[in-house]
């Protein structure tokens, strides 16, 4: 029996505002293409079955589990990953708050939570603690007990609001 590698698809993915030609096997998930074909290893995985939230990225501003999305389906859509959060050397307020307040312990769930939180704050600039809990309830964290994550998101919300007032 001879099986050749399946024919790759070639398409353009728009990740963090940058268009890039990629070639990959058509069955690959967005997670795999980001990590393996585009070297964007900031996005993590804990199950590859849609159970942990570690792989969350934003597609058109909405959190998507990249382990469940086919990269093929993301052609032409705006994809955001943790690598696109900081602008130049400056951390996004969410990143700064997570680093300062213990929101990231091992840091493995962090990229997925940061992206989920970003989408939340864009929808609701001043979310209550309950809303934060709901928003990240699909992101498992085994390290922090979540409390410092809530505080980090709340701190980032304050920073963003102060920034926009100025």
């Amino acid at each position: 029996m001879k099986t050749a590698a399946p024919t790759n698809v070639h398409l353009v993915l728009r990740v963090n505002g940058e268009e890039q030609q990629v070639s990959f096997a058509p069955y690959k998930t967005l997670l795999e293409v980001l990590r393996e074909d585009m070297n964007l290893t900031g996005t993590k995985h804990g199950c590859e079955l849609g159970e942990c939230g570690a792989c969350a990225v934003l597609v058109e501003g909405v959190p998507v589990l990249s382990c469940l999305a086919l990269a093929l389906d993301c052609e032409g859509r705006a994809i955001e990953t943790v690598e696109g959060l900081a602008s130049g050397g400056k951390l996004h307020p969410l990143q700064a708050a997570f680093a300062d307040l213990g929101g990231a312990q091992c840091g493995y769930c962090t990229p997925g939570i940061l992206m989920t939180a970003k989408a939340l704050l864009e929808r609701e600039p001043n979310p209550s603690r309950e809303r934060i809990k709901e928003a990240i309830s699909g992101n498992l964290c085994r390290c922090t007990g979540y409390q410092q994550i809530y505080e980090s998101i709340e701190e980032a919300a304050r920073t963003i609001q102060q920034g926009s007032k100025r």
Partner: protein, 816 residues
């Protein structure tokens, strides 16, 4: 003199914080190398079988497959403890649990490797399976291993410190209770991954998600029979460990071998299901506790018996067995103590160390039993505990040395913050509070292999550019060990923690540190780091003193400056001082090392339990129980931890809250359980819930508010007084939940996890007027040996045993 610190104790962004939030932290699966191949393992679908034949020819012929490995490629056994070399990287003749690796495919990509697994043809002949310790005791044949005590008993221990029966006979009351603690697993969000590659010199490098690169280095070199000097193990930062990345794992050996054979990098990343089958998590433990107390609540003696379900291999099990008993004595005054333990083999994934290693199970029993004792004696449980808290600078009955102990302060703090006095036995039906305490090691006193060398080494490099690089084998598993290292060096040298570069967990570059387990890093690495940094500071001080025309003792270091302590007005920069030192002494560097103090116990077995210091925790949990559904909600937890001193209070609080989180999971939902498939489907023992969806853990919606307090009473054995915080705070959580459930609805659930079905069953018993309790009903007949008798310090002992117990049965060869 109270010293003011510039770095220690200040809430700070941890030094690796930026990397973690930008996605730049390089975990093992993020290592991508040119020409890298991918590995998948074929795992046994049988819990116990002999392998009759393996045919890999079809897999080998598959395009894209580079190599197929089987058991015959790995003639040497391995095991993390020198005494238990009982595993093969790929099982050659026999499998002992569902999920045990039997063959490996290395292919151009994961998909090809995965598909080729189906082309391997393995013929198994099933053997009788053993599913739990009772079955193991009742079924000496077939033996899962031909070594061990007898039949399917892996380990037996019995130690007695003073005549416990006499102490119980003297007591006003004797309490005897049975408890069961179900197994559960670590569930780090990062799945284990490893990449092996051979470098230009022909030497092997392994990048891996491991907590213990030094132990892996040793064991891997041995498993592959190559010189350790030609092996380099790099522990990537772990995406959580919790004890699950402490063994040498089959896949680490397999990819290493494959990389050597192929001359190309080989990667493996386990699926979540494989992580469940690899396990090495919390041992299921059945316990019997007998405790004698006087009518005013003083303990006269205690007898703990444990029966562990070890799973299919030894792993760390010999140590785990000891840990189900040895730390019972460090919280309260227990004048006499007896401890019997038994670990059995079963045909399930091997158990091992998980946060608290072997101690949460008996701690659960002890603290729930104390709640019963308090009730019977009509003493408030907090008062009862306060009246028996162990004294500082004392020895325990089993010869452990307690130094500082902040437990009383912890109890007082949670009693105050939780408003205990107004809640206990006073909340409305269905709501309750429970209190419990715990204690843990700040590092195991002995390494896992016998040697007299330091347990942690630190090296410092500094040069005229002002850069300070610190090298240490310690491993960042998320707990913040790099941050502790940088903070300590920075404090001693009077510089900013962010000006210190950490190179850690790399056996090719860093001095040996035994790894991130037993909560040893802060104390052991920290003490080594202080020594290294002080040695360097002394050189700099001598050079600077000459320049400033003063004595070295009069040279101060703070905030990036070096100055005359008696005239701080004219400082020089740290960098200028280094230039002076480099001029005077040549290239600058220093080393520091640490070995824990020798433990006072001299008896055989005294090596497990000693620690340079013990941390203490007290916790109050509030619970609400729905009588109709049995559902338990925890609205709030108050916890106080005796940390000695917090190096970085942000991280310290995170460790406490993370421990509460994990403890609540163990108390309420997490369980690693197995079921038999129907006989027509092979009768296999399979994991009931090998997925993140069904293995329940707390989400953000389940997690209560936690009120954390740190008790800071610096311990002289610890760096700047800092004790551990990563494991201890987990210990009181489970019993506090059980005690809260009792306060809420008056039923005892003596078995973890406390799931709604158990609550309902207990309520039903209560309604029928039966004993409102759910828990184990009997303890099997375990052939515990005659105990080794060691008189406690106050009964004239010298730390040695006074008898030589009859040595137990035939020891056969390690492997047939």
């Amino acid at each position: 003199m109270t010293k003011r610190f510039d770095v220690i104790g200040k809430p700070r962004r941890r030094v690796d914080g930026r990397a973690k939030v930008t996605g730049l932290t390089r975990f093992a699966d993020d290592v991508m190398l040119p020409r890298m191949l991918h590995c998948k393992l074929l795992r046994s679908a049988h819990p116990h079988a002999t392998i009759e034949s393996i045919d890999v020819s079809r897999a080998q012929a598959r395009p894209g497959v580079h190599l197929v490995l089987t058991g015959k490629d790995f003639p040497v056994t391995f095991g993390i403890l020198p005494v238990t070399q009982d595993e093969y990287p790929l099982a050659p003749e026999r499998v002992r649990y569902v999920g045990e690796p039997v063959a490996a495919i290395i292919a151009r990509d994961e998909q090809t490797a995965f598909e080729a697994l189906d082309l391997i043809d393995v013929q198994y002949r099933p053997l009788k399976t053993i599913s739990d310790p009772k079955e193991a005791l009742a079924t000496p044949e077939p033996r899962i291993h031909s070594y061990g005590e007898q039949g399917n008993i892996h380990r037996l221990q019995a130690l007695e410190f003073g005549d416990v029966n006499e102490a119980l006979a003297r007591a006003d009351h004797v309490f005897e209770d049975l408890f069961f603690y179900e197994g559960n697993t670590h569930l780090p969000i990062e799945q284990h991954a490893s990449v092996a590659a051979v470098d230009g010199e022909g030497k092997l490098t392994l990048w891996s998600s491991t907590q213990v690169p030094h132990y892996i280095h040793r064991a891997l070199a041995n498993a592959l029979q190559i010189p350790p000097a030609h092996v380099r193990v790099i522990a990537c930062p772990n995406g959580g460990g919790f004890g699950g990345k402490c063994d040498l794992h089959n896949h680490e050996i397999v990819v290493s071998k494959a990389a050597i054979l192929l001359g190309r990098p080989v990667k493996i990343c386990l699926t979540r299901e494989e992580v469940f089958y690899m396990h090495r998590g919390r041992h299921p433990v059945l316990m019997r506790m007998r405790t004698g107390v006087t009518k005013d609540g003083k303990i006269t003696g205690m007898h703990t018996q444990t029966l562990l379900d070890g799973g299919a291999y030894g792993g760390y099990g010999a140590a785990s067995t000891f840990y189900t008993g040895v730390l019972q004595t460090v919280t309260y005054e227990i004048p006499r103590y007896k401890f019997d333990a038994c670990r059995t083999f079963t045909n399930k994934p091997p158990c091992g160390p998980k946060r608290g290693h072997g101690t949460p199970q008996p701690r659960f029993g002890q603290e729930v039993q104390l709640d019963r004792i308090a009730e019977k004696l009509e003493i408030d449980p907090a008062e009862l505990r306060l009246s028996i808290v162990a004294k500082p600078n004392t020895l325990t009955a089993n010869w452990l040395k307690i130094g500082t102990i902040g437990l009383a302060e912890c109890i007082r703090k949670v009693v105050a913050s939780s408003d205990w006095k107004n809640k206990f036995r006073k909340l409305p039906e269905g709501r309750g509070v429970g209190l419990a305490c715990g204690a843990y090691l700040c590092g195991a006193g002995l390494p896992i292999y016998w040697n007299k060398m330091p347990q942690s080494g630190v090296q410092l490099l500094i040069d005229r550019s002002g850069q300070v690089t610190v090298f240490c084998g310690a491993t960042e598993i998320g707990q913040g060990s790099d941050d502790v290292l940088a903070a300590i060096v920075a404090e001693v040298l009077g510089i900013d923690a962010y000006d210190v570069r950490c190179v850690t967990g790399d056996t090719g570059l860093t001095p040996v540190d035994l790894g991130s387990y037993s909560s040893r890093v802060t104390v052991m690495m920290g003490n080594a780091a202080i020594q290294a940094a002080e040695r360097l500071r002394e050189l700099i001080a001598r050079a600077a003193a000459e320049h400033m025309e003063t004595l070295p003792e009069n040279v101060g270091f703070a905030q990036g400056r070096v100055f005359r302590a008696d005239d701080p007005g004219k400082p020089m920069s740290f960098r200028e001082a280094i230039v002076l030192a480099e001029e005077k002494f040549g290239t600058l560097g220093s080393v520091g090392s640490y070995s824990p103090p020798r433990a006072p116990g001299r008896y055989k077995g005294a090596g497990v339990g000693p620690s340079p210091a013990y941390s203490y925790t007290a916790c109050v949990v509030e619970a609400e129980v729905d009588r109709n559904t049995g559902w338990i909600t925890v609205p709030k937890v108050w916890i106080a931890h005796d940390i000695g001193r917090a190096v970085n209070p942000v991280s310290a609080r995170g460790q406490v809250e993370g421990s509460v989180y994990m403890g609540l999971g163990e108390a309420l939902m997490e369980e690693q359980v197995f079921r038999r498939l129907p006989p027509k489907l092979s009768n296999a023992l399979v994991h009931k819930i090998p997925s993140l969806l069904e293995y329940k853990s707390l989400t953000s919606l389940d997690m209560p508010e936690v009120f954390t307090e740190l008790v800071e009473d610096p311990d002289p054995n610890c760096p700047f007084g800092a004790k551990e915080v990563g494991q201890g705070p987990l210990l009181p959580v489970m019993p506090a939940v059980a005690n809260a459930v009792y306060d809420a609805i008056g039923v005892r659930i003596d078995e973890l996890p406390i799931t709604p079905d158990k609550v309902l069953a207990a309520l039903e018993k209560k309604a029928k007027g039966e004993t409102p309790r759910v828990g184990p009903e009997s303890f099997p007949d375990v052939p515990y040996p005659e105990p080794m008798l060691v008189p406690p310090p106050w009964e004239g002992g010298d730390g040695n045993s006074v008898n030589t117990p009859r040595r137990r049965p035939v020891k056969k060869e390690a492997l047939a």
